[in-house]
């Protein structure tokens, strides 16, 4: 049990200060923009919730939202189980463990735009190993023209990029389970599945919550990799929320609508994560 001690605030104060500077201030600015029509620095008109209404009726926003949910659900459904499986198949100790852990960490260390580049080079039907192999096998594959192909390669890329995170977190969780738990399970004659279900999974809970939350949030915010890999195409078929927002804010410079979009986007992610977090916490209390 953790001790109650309010002096621990001294330890978290620096984090609070730095995050307040880089998060609270900018967020206030965005909210400010979202309720005004801005022509230039001196000409602003208060418009209330007009930008919010406009955004919620925008069919391109709604399409991007639907694509976003589909993408996030798909990658989570693959990455979480696969990550746990990989963590479980890692040897617990020995020289090979370190080697595998380093290998797993590699995709997490690669800059996101490089991940996009790697997969573009890998998947291109003309010069890419993956694309060319499929073509040689007689399977038509062209992610720049075919919507399904573009989605397949995006999901493969995201799984490649982020399963390691789930695996490393799960491995850390598994490593903290002490041997007496396994011995007790052994005495009770538990099967491998029962050991996983009743010994390991409950102990992995806290790291898995973090893993699911991180993957949920990051997949909802994905921008760089699809931007590099498919550029949101073919058509708008892989344009997710971030990319649409950036187009609005930077290319079209629609400050008000972009700010309203930002606030809605942020609240949406916040709401989803809060729902997940509280439901998990509640089920833990029961």
């Amino acid at each position: 049990m953790r001790r109650r001690n309010n002096r621990a605030w001294l330890g978290v104060a620096p984090v609070v200060l730095i995050v307040a500077f880089s998060a609270v201030l900018p967020l206030m600015t965005v909210v400010n923009y979202s309720i005004q029509d801005i022509f230039d620095i001196n000409t602003r008109i208060f418009v209330g919730f007009d930008w919010y209404r406009e955004t919620l009726r925008d069919p391109r926003f709604l399409d991007a939202l639907l694509r976003q949910f589909t993408f996030s659900a798909t990658v989570l459904a693959i990455e979480i189980p696969l990550g746990i499986l990989v963590a479980k198949s890692l040897p617990r100790t020995g020289a090979r463990t370190g080697m595998f852990l380093i290998l797993l960490a590699v995709p997490l260390l690669i800059p996101w735009n490089v991940v996009g580049t790697i997969w573009q080079l890998f998947a291109r039907p003309d010069i890419g190993l993956f694309g060319a192999t499929l073509t040689a096998l007689g399977i038509e594959f062209n992610y720049t023209a075919d919507v399904i192909d573009a989605w397949i390669i995006l999901v493969l890329m995201d799984v490649w990029h982020w399963t390691s995170l789930v695996a490393l977190l799960s491995f850390a969780g598994l490593a903290s389970i002490q041997e007496p738990y396994y011995q007790a399970a052994e005495i009770d004659g538990a099967s491998r599945w029962q050991v996983f279900r009743y010994v390991e999974l409950p102990r992995l809970r806290s790291v898995l919550i973090i893993a699911v939350l991180l993957r949920l949030m990051d997949s909802l915010m994905i921008y760089t990799e699809p931007f590099v890999l498919t550029g949101g195409g073919p058509g708008n078929s892989t344009t997710f929320l971030s990319q649409y927002l950036t187009t609005m804010a930077v290319s079209q410079f629609d400050l008000g609508p972009a700010a309203a979009f930002s606030v809605l986007y942020f609240l949406l992610i916040l709401l989803l994560c809060w729902l997940f977090y509280t439901s998990v916490m509640r089920s833990a209390e029961d």
Partner: protein, 275 residues
């Protein structure tokens, strides 16, 4: 039985399946990287003219370009500056916070943790415009410091989580054990240390009950003196049960010898958990 337990500990998958999965996954991780390396060792003309699994006429010309063209290598310099700044800031602020979250409960801890989480949830695109204006206003726009500070928004909460997870993975009993062994480096940073003075007579070696000098501060329930305890030993461990308001506090006890004066020192009081 120990062997059987080990087999469960190793993996709940059978070994063959586990190996198969692990190597297949590593292949999936490595193939795109290999292809990147392959392409980086070939000329543009070679890349588009044929598909070769191994670079036949391998050349380092592409790498030479990176290291001789200032457009490329200056970008690397900028990146390194930004990374150094960001890492120092993130670790410096996240380390004490992670320790606090891992070892203590304090006012608003859960809300604070969730608030940090919310910053990790904010889409970077949202911050594009405000950052531009904020950093222009304080005159650090277009500097590595601005990028480093902006990225703290994402790296600091992540650092806190990861460090918190690892710190919580270290059993708290290890802290106590370290303290028993006199590792003062592992001090309880935020704990209030009470000075409790208890006189202990030399009779405690014989296991007789010893009376505390100031009973309202605590009472000695038992003494534990290891094999190594002798006249030259500068410290020893004494179990002290502290009266309720002081339960779980860490304090110090002063040992005084009445007769010979062979021992006059202070030892740490450890909280004793009653079974």
């Amino acid at each position: 039985m120990a062997n059987a337990a080990h087999s469960l500990l190793d993996s709940s998958l059978s070994h063959r399946k586990a190996h198969w999965l692990l190597y297949a996954y590593c292949g999936y991780l490595l193939l795109p990287l290999y292809w990147l390396l392959n392409i980086s060792l070939r000329t543009n003309r070679d890349i588009v003219s044929r598909l070769s699994v191994f670079p036949v006429d391998a050349t380092l010309a592409n790498f030479a370009e990176i290291f001789t063209n200032p457009v490329w290598y200056e970008a690397f310099g900028n990146s390194l500056t930004y990374v150094a700044l960001n890492t120092s800031i993130s670790v410096a602020v996240a380390l004490p916070a992670a320790y606090a979250f891992s070892r203590y409960r304090f006012l608003g801890d859960k809300h604070l943790f969730f608030w940090l989480l919310t910053n990790r949830m904010s889409p970077p695109a949202v911050f594009l415009l405000p950052f531009f204006q904020l950093y222009s206003a304080i005159g650090i726009f277009d500097t590595p410091l601005a990028v480093a500070l902006a990225h703290c928004l994402f790296t600091v909460p992540l650092a806190v989580w990861i460090l918190e997870g690892f710190m919580s993975g270290v059993p708290k009993s290890l802290d106590e054990m370290a303290r028993i062994d006199g590792h003062s480096t592992n001090v309880d940073w935020f704990a209030k240390v009470d000075d409790v003075h208890i006189g202990v007579r030399d009779k405690y070696f014989s296991g007789e009950e010893v009376k505390p000098e100031r009973p309202n501060h605590g009472q000695v329930t038992h003494t534990t003196v290891g094999d190594h305890a002798n006249a030259s030993q500068r410290s020893m461990h004494i179990g002290v049960y502290l009266t309720p308001p002081r339960t779980n506090r860490v304090g110090r006890v002063e040992i005084v010898n009445d007769h010979e004066g062979w021992f006059r020192d202070r030892v740490d009081i450890l909280p004793i958990i009653r079974a």
